[in-house]
Assembly symmetry: C2
Homo-oligomer: 446 residues x 2
């Protein structure tokens, strides 16, 4: 058994400058990749041993892709980098005064520190929702949703109680951002093309998919055109869209909205908000709205040699007064740009401010139903946007292998309308649901 006093980070001493990166998401991973041939030691901390391609996480949640298809282990990704060190460990705090990072198993001095810890689900302080809702930010969470969806249909098949069955067949998705829209569209396509054949004993006209959004439009970060198109696509697929509706409470059985309306459901997917995954030790005056204020070279306000990139960073600019959108592109670009600036600093050359190159945004509702906002006020929809979505996502997927698997899965689905992988590998079991616990037993042979 492990004992703390026998553990240490075991990072070799070096005379080279040491760059410590906290978090290997789009920002941290691209920074580390861009530092490959720079004469620095790179140390990457992450609590997972893989980089996930989060834009496709909803596919894992709706049984379209294997979890492994959207993830790439850091060890493999960086196995040809010299003086690169990955440690799968949580960072507890940073201390800019002593230039030290404190992890569960020891401290490490840095020359440059980059906080790329991303975002986490925001439950707005509602502990009951946090306990019962299904967030969708990590692979284990996506697998929980996959198990939950399939278990709902299995359980609906064995209940005699119509109210219970209805509650098992009601799916409520909080938040009409890309995650919520993609989840809802994907579920609606399952209902149309897959589930009736799988569960001939169930009446799928009873299955309801709700998307509820506090703001007045679908896809709030995108254009009005895109939002309206996406809403129409969702409604064409039979999804019930409720705008200007906020979730007030959820006890695992009933969602109550502000205003009093209630829906009985066993499944509330939480895509209603994120907040920065902060780390202790960042001065309070450097924080705003749960994110870290940075200057135009991503340096944390008030600190030297500490940087923040990606979702956790809040860079106020004229064009982006609320910061850059919390999607992959700003993180990727900031990671690559910071690598260049670090090299400039090492050579005592002047740094260059970050400028976000907005390539546009895409969201998918279903097959042949996607929306795109492109630079130059161009708005696409339908099949063309869908092809663009497919192309962009395959293009950016990390690593040759993932691309091949995802591509073959997609081609297969394209021709057959089948979903890949409707397996309940680890049943999702609420600890307080004793019966589900017993019925969905695992690990032992029947």
């Amino acid at each position: 058994m492990l004992q703390y006093d026998k553990l240490s980070l075991n990072i070799p001493d070096t005379t080279k400058p040491r760059v410590v990166i906290i978090g290997g998401g789009f920002g941290g991973m691209n920074l580390a990749k861009s530092l490959r041939d720079t004469d620095v030691q790179v140390v990457l901390f992450d609590r997972q041993n893989y980089n996930g391609f989060w834009p496709l996480l909803y596919q894992v949640a709706t049984a379209g892709l294997e979890a492994d298809s959207i993830a790439e282990p850091f060890r493999k990704m960086f196995d040809d980098h010299k003086d690169f060190h990955f440690r799968m460990v949580r960072v507890n705090k940073i201390d800019p005064a002593t230039k030290t990072v404190t992890t569960l198993i020891g401290d490490l001095r840095y020359d440059y520190l980059v906080i790329a810890s991303g975002s986490k689900s925001n439950f707005f302080g509602n502990e009951q929702i946090q306990k019962y809702a299904f967030p969708l930010k990590t692979i284990p969470e996506a697998l929980n949703i996959r198990s939950q969806l399939l278990q709902c249909f299995e359980q609906a098949s064995i209940t005699r109680d119509p109210a219970e069955r209805q509650s098992l067949l009601n799916f409520v998705i909080a938040g009409a951002g890309p995650t919520g829209v993609e989840m809802a569209g994907s579920l609606a396509e399952m209902r149309k093309h897959v589930l009736p054949a799988d569960y001939p004993g169930l009446d799928f006209s009873q299955m309801n998919i709700y998307v509820v959004e506090g703001l007045s439009k679908v896809l709030p970060p995108m254009s009005d055109e895109a939002g309206q198109k996406a809403q129409r696509y969702l409604e064409d697929l039979g999804v019930i869209v409720k705008l200007n509706t906020l979730v007030d409470s959820y006890d695992g059985e009933t969602v109550t909205f502000k205003g009093g309306e209630q829906i009985k459901t066993q499944t509330l997917v939480w895509g209603a908000g994120v907040t920065g995954a902060l780390i202790d030790g960042i001065p309070a005056e450097s924080l705003e709205r749960g994110r870290i204020l940075v200057d135009p070279i991503n340096r944390v306000q008030g600190l030297t040699d500490v940087f923040a990139i990606g979702d956790i960073a809040f860079m106020k600019t004229e064009k982006w007064p609320k910061g850059h959108p919390g999607v992959a592109q700003p993180a990727i670009q900031q990671g690559n740009h910071l690598a260049k600036n670090l090299r400039r600093m090492l050579k005592n050359e002047p740094t260059e401010p970050f400028e976000y190159f907005d390539k546009g945004s895409l969201a998918i509702v279903g097959r042949s139903r996607a929306v795109a906002d492109l630079p130059g006020n161009i708005h696409l929809g339908g099949f063309i946007a869908w092809m663009a979505w497919l192309f962009v996502h395959i293009w950016y997927l990390v690593g040759f292998r993932s691309k091949l698997i995802v591509f073959s899965n997609w081609m297969y689905r394209l021709f057959t309308y089948q979903r890949g992988t409707r397996l309940i590998i680890r049943p999702f079991i609420r600890k307080d649901d004793k019966v589900a616990n017993e019925i969905m037993l695992k690990n032992e042979v029947a």
Copy 2:
């Protein structure tokens, strides 16, 4: 939340004969498939919602294949069968007197009952081994091993204690049957081709792979030629093979063998034996060595209308006095054969005794290293046996999709020596290891 009094099996009443199958492994699945166009109602019970291709389970455990690649959901498999009903539920007992099966959520009368519940790990009553060893019979167990292996290397990277590091790098596999041989060979290939690049900070000459076997040969069920070849292949790959060696105890830290020798290891993989996954209600006089005695048409000894097929069935014949081997082929053939006999019984025609058509046995050690015993006393090894192994396993893999994914994974590995999927999706955590628990935290962002 589910309540028992609101649940029922919800199997529609029918005037057709009802065939109830317990377990959807090779036997049960093939029986159900073969009954497709027979005028019966088929009810399949299984505690998993998928059929697994168990001969490739070791690949999941050693990060070579995704779990989803070797499994196919029953719902999908049978979505075009009429009057077929799958229920994901455990069978508690059977009552031949009333022709009833009792599950957690209700009883069901049968006209014909087929027990195809397979086998489970046999710890020979040693509770300590059962608690600490890693069995390899189910997909969650394989994923536990995958997580454990990768966590061992991560943890070996952060310990300063040489004894702890050695114990993390020692892997002991109990049992030199096909599972043990395949696990050991696969681990040895990882050590050779993958791990040194992934973990440049570790010295892999310290990594030891032991296979211990109580009998005097490797691959006891196969020919002496095959066993000797497999042993040589293993030793060529640097695996330490210990024959005539029985595990006496394992406390999670130290394996002690009968005779007193000890090896410190964090990982004992248990492939040392299986026993029938029995169900309450089978008369004691119908059991022998943990299996169900059946007559030549797989009817359970002493019962009418109750059959047992596959690993759980013990059919004594002149050629197979100890029963058929516990592999896929007898189960598949018995499933198909029983379907034919059921049709004959329905038409009041005489049944025909089962005859096992032995197609031979195969086991794989690594790339270009496999052994085959073919009918006619033919023994193959090396590249030819390996090609045969590849061909047979792809051929029998269930479902078009799995075949494509597995095939593309294999082709990829063939050309790159890469393993697919070295992800710790759900860390394996011993409840009593508090530090590992904290370090391998999951689900939250770094």
